[in-house]
Structures are given as C-alpha cells and as structure tokens.
C-alpha cells in the first residue's frame, strides 16, 4: 500500500507539471514554468524511493540515474543553438525507448497478466519503439547525416503498410497468447515501422514530426503508467500526449498544411522529390559594396533571417548591420517567419542569443503588409519561407504555406552560399526576378563586408 504522503507528493508533482506547461505558454512565465516542472520531476523521483515499494538493485538504479543525468546535462549544455531541434528529437527518442523497455521488463515480471495490462504493454512497446527509431531518423535528417529530402523507395508504400499490418497482428496475437518471443518480435517490427514512417517526410516538415513523436512518447509513458498502475505516469504522459498533439496542430497550421499532408504527402505524390541541383539560369549578382549602397540609402529595410544565417553564426553581424542602418535613420525590422530556422520559434531563440531586441522581431502577419513600403528586403540564408511557389505553384511541396511577401519590396537582396535550393529542395523563382540582387558567399563573410561598406558611405 502506498503511504498517503507519497500519494500527496505525487499529486503535487502532477500539479507542478500542469503549471509548468501553463507557464511555458507565455513568454513572461516560461522560465518559471521550466523551474516548476523540474522541481515536480525531482519530487516525484525522490519520493519513489520512499513509496513503500521494496527496491532491489539500488546501486544500479542510482548509478544509472547518475550516468543518465550526466549525459543529458552535458549534451544539453554543449549543444549549439542551431542544433537544438535534433537534440530535442534525441531526448524524445530515448524517452520513448525507456517507456518501451519499462513495459517489457514489467510484462516479464507479471505471471498472469490481465488483458488490460497486456493491451497497455502492447501499446507502450509499439508507440515507444516507433518514437525511438523515428526520432533517431529525424536526428539523422536534421544533422544532415542522411538526405533531408523525402526518401521514397519504389513500393515503399506497400512495405510500410505491410509492416504496419504485421505490427497490429503481432500486437493482437500477443494479447491473445502472451509469449516472450512475440514481445521481441513486436519490438523489432515497431522499430522498423518507426524508420519507415519518418523516412518519406521532407526536411522542412521534420519539426512537425518531432512534435508528433513527442506526443507519441507522452502517450507511451501514460500507457506505461497503466501497466505499472502508477497515477503520476498516467497524468504526466497524458498531459504531454494531449499538449503535444495540440502543438503539432498549431505547427502544422503555421506551415499552412494539414498534418496528414505532412506525414503522407510523399506517398500520395503531392510532395515532389525536388531538383536539388544548382540551376544555371542567369541571375543578377552584386558586390558587397553594391548591397551596402542599396541599404545605406534606403529609408526602410526589412531583414529576413533564415537558418543559413545561424549556420554561419552571423546573427551578431546582422545585428551590427541593423544597428548601423538604424544610426543612419533607416527604419529597420526583422521579419520572422513562424517556421524560420528548423523548428517553429527557432529563429527567435537564435536571434535572442545574439541580443537582438525583442521588439524589432516582427511576426509574419504583422510584417507582411509593410513590404509594400519597404525599399530593400535583405534575405539572409532563407529560401523556402520567401518562395512564391508556396502561392503560385500547386505542385510545389510547400504549396499553401504562408510566406513572407518579400517580392512586394522595392528591391530584394539575397545573401546565399550558392544556387542550391533550400531545405525543402525546391527552386525559388524570386531569385531570377529582375529586382533581385544576389550576393554569394558565406553569410558572415558577406555581412561583414556589407557592414564595412555601409561604414564607409
């Protein structure tokens, strides 16, 4: 029997998790929210040692916690802000893996498990494993260790459906006739399904998948709570499952695509594989000095930062340029697309890191009407979020995604490394527009030269 004070402590932890999510929903209280959540987690973890359950293997448990905490903390401290999305994906994956393992061990321990326990076990193993292997694939995609474009193998649709069917059959079989080798089979099949599930998703849609897998892990933790009869796991896991589902929808909406389109687009053919080749059509390229003059004598400039800016670690240089232009009496704003960077809100984090004042960051709906009165729109390392194909070309994979209307500005300047298409792998017509000037090179390098140019005006 669990002592009352332990149950109360777990209740407190559950409340703290709710407050944490609530806090994280508003910029003012977000940091406080994280702290409350961490305290809740600490309370729940400490309390389990005093919960009246007799724990053997204390050395192993404490050692495991120490090692895991160390790995987690060091990885979280060291990771660069640009690589944040893949870090979150990895943390999510190991969580799903842990939930699957917990269920398997507990299943092995119960002599004659009830149907409900079996069903919850099957659910945890499937969802936890899918989350684990799926997250590993998203990590590989974001780290660009494998291609970011949708991976479509001929007949892949049938293979995936077949594996999915096998997962369901083995799962049902396991409930009817429990056996250890069936659990192992289910685990392996689910891992394979996770890989097949994520592979066809295109690079730009990966963040949505991370969010979805995050919700999956939450649900598998909740199901693990059913297996163990642990209320706190049910509450925490379900909260994350529901909140994660909601968040996935919000993100999908920000990208202007229904979630089903994101996940199965590659199968139904709405997502093209993309060229991925550098185009040899003529473009107008300029020197840093040309760009400096255009910017220096403008009266209104909008900066459009993208992931390429962050990769080049040029956020501070961009801010320097913005400050310099502001000193010349030029109206300068940053236009932030909801999915700029590799994850919704990622760009805000990256610019905040470079101490860009929060007020200068304008969201898409706010800034779009302003492009008409803008002399120069300076696009640094962004491509897909300003690609008019999202409006004009129904065959483009990003069709329907709201974009920043930079084409309405008087002049458009792109700072690009090369003519290689963006993360989504589609050509940008705006690059060939007569009012567009391209400045090729590393973003940091180019910006530094432009800054020098503006100083010399």
């Amino acid at each position: 029997m669990t002592p009352t004070w332990v149950q109360l402590a777990n209740l407190a932890a559950a409340v703290m998790f709710i407050l944490a999510l609530k806090g994280l929903s508003s910029p003012k209280t977000a940091r406080q929210g994280v702290l409350i959540g961490a305290v809740g987690a600490a309370v729940a973890t400490v309390v389990v040692f005093f919960s009246g359950i007799e724990l053997m293997n204390l050395g192993l448990i404490l050692g495991g916690i120490a090692i895991g905490s160390l790995i987690g903390a060091v990885a979280a401290r060291r990771v660069q802000m640009t690589q944040m999305p893949q870090m979150v994906a990895l943390f999510n994956g190991v969580g799903g893996g842990a939930a699957a393992l917990v269920s398997i061990v507990e299943y092995n321990n119960i002599d004659e498990p009830a149907i409900a326990i079996l069903a919850a076990t099957v659910f945890t193993v499937i969802i936890g494993s899918v989350s684990f292997s799926g997250s590993i694939v998203t990590f590989l995609k974001l780290q660009e260790l494998i291609t970011t474009r949708p991976v479509i193998v001929p007949g892949g649709k049938y293979v995936t459906s077949l594996v999915a069917a096998a997962v369901i059959v083995v799962g049902a079989w396991l409930i009817a006739a429990p056996s250890t080798w069936l659990v192992v089979t289910l685990l392996l099949l689910s891992l394979v399904f996770g890989v097949l599930f994520v592979l066809p998703v295109g690079g730009a849609d990966v963040p949505i998948v991370i969010s979805l897998l995050n919700a999956f892990t939450g649900l598998s933790v909740a199901a693990g709570g059913f297996v163990l009869g642990n209320v706190l796991l049910i509450i925490a896991g379900t909260l994350v499952g529901a909140a994660g589902t909601m968040l996935t929808q919000l993100m999908a909406r920000a990208m202007g695509r229904p979630i089903t389109n994101t996940l199965f687009g590659a199968f139904s053919g709405t997502s093209t594989a993309g060229g991925g080749q550098a185009s040899d059509r003529p473009v107008r390229s300029g020197s840093p000095q040309d760009v400096a003059i255009m910017l220096g004598y403008a009266s209104k400039v909008i900066l459009v930062p993208g992931y390429g800016l962050a990769v080049a670690q040029a956020q501070s240089t961009l801010r320097e340029l913005a400050d310099l232009l502001a000193e010349r009496g030029i109206d300068v704003d940053y236009a932030i697309h909801p999915v700029a960077g590799r994850m919704p809100g990622h760009m805000n984090v990256l610019l905040a890191e470079a101490n860009v004042p929060y007020e200068q960051l304008k969201e898409m709906d706010e800034v779009n009407p302003e492009f008409v009165d803008t002399d120069v729109a300076l696009v640094v390392g962004a491509n897909d979020v300003v690609n008019p194909a999202a409006k004009d070309d129904p065959s483009a994979p990003i069709y329907g995604m709201p974009i920043l209307d930079v084409s309405n500005a008087g002049q458009v300047v792109f700072l690009k490394r090369s003519m290689r298409p963006g993360f989504a792998g589609i050509e940008n017509e705006l690059l060939f527009d007569p009012k567009t000037t391209l400045l090729f090179g590393d973003a940091k390098d180019s910006l530094t030269k432009v800054v020098t140019g503006v100083k010399g005006l």
């Binding site: 979150v88 909260l239 909801p338 994850m343």
Partner: protein, 124 residues
C-alpha cells in the same frame, strides 16, 4: 482504447493494487482535457521551448524505470531496466536543461503581448 480493455481494468490488481481501472481511466480522460486546455493558445515564438519542455516532462518515465529496475532479477531484466533508467534520466535532465538554456535567452528583453494567438485562431 477498446471497451473490452476498460472492462478488464479492474481485474488488473497485480500491478494496480491501489487504483481501480475506472479511477485510472478517469484520471486519463481528465488529463487529456487539461493537456489540450493548458496550451490552446501559444505564441509561435514559444513553440520550440514548449515542445522541449513537454519533452522533458515525459522523462518522468524515470519513475517507472526505477520501479521495474527495483524488482528486476536475472541478467536480461537487469540490463534492460538499467538501460531504461539511463535513457529516462537523459530525457528528464537533458530536457529540462536544454529548455532552460533556450529560455535563458529570452529573459532580459521586454516581451511583447502574444500576437500570434489571434493569428492562429482566425484560420480555424
């Protein structure tokens, strides 16, 4: 979740000694609503930290990992459950640290009123 499963929940005495299946189910359903409600309006600015924070919270599977590791016997069970403890701890600790690091950068600035909450709604 199937109905037959619900009917069977009360029999799950072995694991759920303190809680009847119905109580667990009630908690589950109410948690779904709380989860939806609590983040129905979030600025796009905070999508990443929120995802990361939610990610950290499900690291609480650590509690489950500790429980199964505490009753594990034999090499296989010990290996799997200890691995579960390590993975869960990575998720829990890493998740909170990385979320805090992200939010640290928002701290000193004046935050502006949430603008995209309305934007999110009008599409619906």
């Amino acid at each position: 979740m199937s109905l037959s499963m619900l009917a069977a929940l009360p029999m799950a005495e072995e694991a759920a000694s303190d809680n009847s299946g119905m109580a667990l189910l009630t908690i589950f359903v109410l948690s779904v609503f709380v989860g939806f409600e609590v983040i129905s309006k979030v600025s796009a600015v905070l999508h990443t930290p929120l995802m990361s924070g939610a990610n950290a919270i499900h690291g609480i599977i650590l509690v489950g990992a500790i429980i199964v590791a505490g009753e594990a016997e034999g090499a296989l069970e010990l290996t799997l459950s200890t691995l579960a403890v390590v993975l869960a701890a990575i998720n829990l600790v890493g998740g909170f640290v990385v979320t805090d690091r992200m939010l640290e950068m928002f701290k000193p600035k004046v935050s502006k009123p949430v603008a995209s909450a309305e934007a999110g709604e009008e599409t619906k």
